[in-house]
Symmetry: C2
Subunit: 121 residues, 2 copies
DNA sequence: ACGATTGTCAAGTGACCACTTTAGTATGCG
DNA sequence: CGCATACTAAAGTGGTCACTTGACAATCGT
């Protein structure tokens, strides 16, 4: 019940350049919060907030080790957004294929009304 | 010079539920602006603005036909975000593989310092 | 034990942005 | 022509959110 893993939260989280940069850094290997903060011209507190956002939406996980919090990417989070994009891509592709086939198989050009619209028949 | 196609713009655009819904609707087939607006409890003007955002970042294209503007998904836009996510996913996967291999090939447990860190040696 | 790291919490602030309103332009239809 | 449809453009507004500050807790090194 801790993670929502919703598409909305994931996209919202990745909309922020700093958070995307954190995920990029983290996809190269685990890191502590201050390690994550180093490249930024930003307070440590701000980075902590970003980490919290990323964790709440399931894009990263973290565990406290001593006085450090070590963070790593959670593949499941990436999958959520990957699936969304992948589905749209395949739908658009299928849509274009259908259009291509239609154009190729109708030399006369007048058989039925030009249903260029949505998939319902 | 019209489209930026930057990752940042694409993610920012998709962070908005309404805009994601528009892309979803559009990945099922082309539609006019007012068709896109229909399901929303929102002014047409607002939808127009969303369409403009989606077009500027290269996620959709549109052409004016008569008094209608018909919109369709631009696959290239989806590819931009797909590539970003795909790269991170593969990096994380590779990272986990390396960790697994390391654990499997070290029964003694003390050969070199535990470099769980980034890829540099 | 003391000081220095490392992180956390809470409250405040400024900027951005989604949305509305208003007013206007262009196209289709009878 | 005249009226409705479909969009566009500009300005204003409220709410969200990234970031700061400041004060505090826990842990490490010496």
């Amino acid at each position: 019940m801790l993670n929502h893993h919703t598409i909305d939260e994931c996209f919202r989280a990745l909309a922020e350049p700093a958070r995307r940069a954190i995920v990029e850094r983290l996809s190269d290997g685990p890191a502590s919060v201050s390690q994550l903060a180093a490249p930024f011209d930003m307070t440590l507190a701000a980075v902590v907030q970003h980490v919290q956002v990323l964790e709440k939406c399931g894009l990263i996980r973290s565990e406290k080790i001593g006085r450090n919090r070590v963070c790593r990417v959670d593949p499941a989070g990436l999958d959520v957004v990957s699936n969304w994009v992948g589905l749209r891509r395949s739908m658009v592709e299928r849509q274009l294929d259908r259009l291509g086939a239609l154009l190729a198989s109708e030399p006369t050009g007048d058989e039925d009304p030009p249903e260029t619209e949505r998939t319902d028949p």
